[in-house]
Amino acid sequence: MADPAATPPVVEALHIDHAAIAYDAEPVLTGVTGRVHAGEVVALIGPNGAGKSTLIKAVLGLVPVVGGTVTVLGRTPAAARRDVAYVPQADILDPQFPVSVAQVVLMGRYREVGWLRRPGRDDRRIAAEALAQVGLAERARATFGTLSGGQRQRVLLARAIAQRPRLLLLDEPFNGVDLVSQDALLGALRGLKRQGTAVLISTHDLALAQHVSDHACLLNRRMFGFGPTGATLTPDLLRATYGNQALELHGDQIVVAHH
């Protein structure tokens, strides 16, 4: 047997092949095909209810794939969870919860620390570095709920960074986020990209998607397109994806008017 460390196999971070995803009998999302490689940022674009969150949950192995395949780092989604980090929307979390910012980031180390054991000095150092990467080192002792929405989102990204994932999944990270926090999030994501982390971001902000992603995946109950961002976020494909919802084109900017 060859030493696997000597010649690391080139494994795609994510390989989705004609996947259909369903909570119950009726599929929520069908016909999804695409690949994400190390160091690539892919934006999941689509209206509310398009199935973006569902696709992310399928990649996490939390929602069944009923047709086709979803392969994460060469494994099944459930078997790859240790190398995958997930950033939920900050506003679903209880702002009254009695926990400090540092404690939240440290949660990213729990899986690595393992059952029955407490996080050690190294774990605290890794968590502190992750918090610095999102520009919130000085807020470590603050209560999580006292931070602004954008800052909370950054703390959750720091928690994911502390997991040291190879694939990072973010669910609408820019929703209701102020410009300072948006810049901090984008900066941290660029850092992760440089380190070779593959990133999947769901968003309905087309301008941000164009800014941040290498590839875009258009979804609305099924896949309408997947490819380089510039070639995929075209008026025709966007109109097909969004259906009746009005699209306005301002020069190179595309605005989706929600109704």
Binding site: L60, L62, A78, R81, R82, V84, A85, Y86, P88, I92, L93, D94, F97, P98, V99, S100, Q103, V104, M107, Y110, R111, V113, W115, L116, R118, P119, T143, G145, L156, R159, Q163, L169
Partner: protein, 291 residues
């Protein structure tokens, strides 16, 4: 002061009652923190209703010795059922649960009502007999408290993550239902441990008020837990002393368990009031400084 706060506990039955309450305070102070962070008030309330028929059945089949096994069996069944029910996203129907709880409770009452000593038995099952606690019961409480506290300490970080962010916990690969089952069992065991001394009804106060009081003075888990244990212990001690003094010196019979619960609630309200006053003073100072 000495006569009220120290002397009563020279009497053996009072010393036993105090020991039992201090054990329960340690147990409930910690478990109530989890009840607070997981918002398990409803689950805790459900336990108090469903453990009751288990106690009655145990007593009817094996006398006093059957109480603990009966309560344990009922608690285990309830913990599993509640974990399953709350796991399924489709059961959002509180009505079904409420009907189940009321039915379980009624089963207990019907079973007791067939006995000649109906009223006395019902009262002791519902409200406990704090002053007749035996050394054997204290030992049982100690074992239960030890088991629960060690388990919760070992699973502390996982339970914290699950309470704070269940989606992320699931994404990391933690089995949410398993963590929920452990915590539901812990809550059930507190109800079981407290059933004979404080009773199945009043134990809900022990499961909710200590950490709620701690939450008023801190926004970190560890201080909330410590404050919860301290508040529960202090209330147990004061409540017992008050009920003893009232009955010995003033001929006023105050039920021990209920007096303890009232003391606990009084401490909570005083803390709430003190916190409000402190904030008022602080904002007054701030506005003075600005002016």
């Amino acid at each position: 002061m000495h006569a009220t706060l120290v002397e009563p506990f020279a009497v053996p039955f009072m010393a036993r009652a105090l020991t039992e309450l201090l054990l329960l305070a340690g147990l409930a102070g910690v478990v109530s923190t989890h009840v607070l962070t997981r918002r398990l008030g409803f689950v805790a309330d459900a336990m108090t209703h469903t453990v009751f028929p288990g106690i009655v059945l145990g007593f009817l089949t094996a006398g006093v010795d059957g109480v603990l096994p009966g309560a344990l069996a009922a608690a285990a069944v309830t913990a599993v059922l509640l974990t399953l029910l709350t796991r399924s996203r489709r059961v959002t129907d509180d009505t079904a649960l409420a009907v189940l709880l009321a039915a379980m409770f009624a089963v207990g009452v019907v079973l007791v009502s067939r006995r000649a000593s109906y009223t006395a038995d019902l009262t002791s099952f519902l409200f406990g007999r704090l002053l007749t606690v035996t050394t054997g019961q204290i030992a049982q409480t100690a074992v239960v408290a030890g088991l629960v506290l060690i388990t919760l300490a070992l699973l502390h970080k996982e339970l914290l993550l699950r309470a704070f962010d269940p989606q992320a916990a699931a994404a990391m690969g933690y089995r949410i239902w398993l963590l929920d089952l452990v915590l539901n069992l812990a809550v059930a065991l507190v109800v079981v441990a407290a059933a004979q001394s404080v009773g199945t009804i009043l134990v809900i106060a022990l499961l909710v008020v200590p950490a709620a009081t701690g939450r008023l003075i801190s926004d970190r888990i560890a201080p909330i837990t410590l404050a919860g244990v301290a508040v529960a212990a202090l209330s147990g001690y004061l409540g017992l002393a008050i009920s003893y003094r009232a009955s010995v010196s003033h001929g006023l019979r105050l039920a021990g368990g209920a007096t303890v619960v009232l003391t606990l609630v009084a401490v909570y309200l005083l803390t709430l009031l003190a916190g409000g006053l402190a904030r008022a003073v602080q904002s007054r100072r701030t506005s003075d400084a600005v002016a």
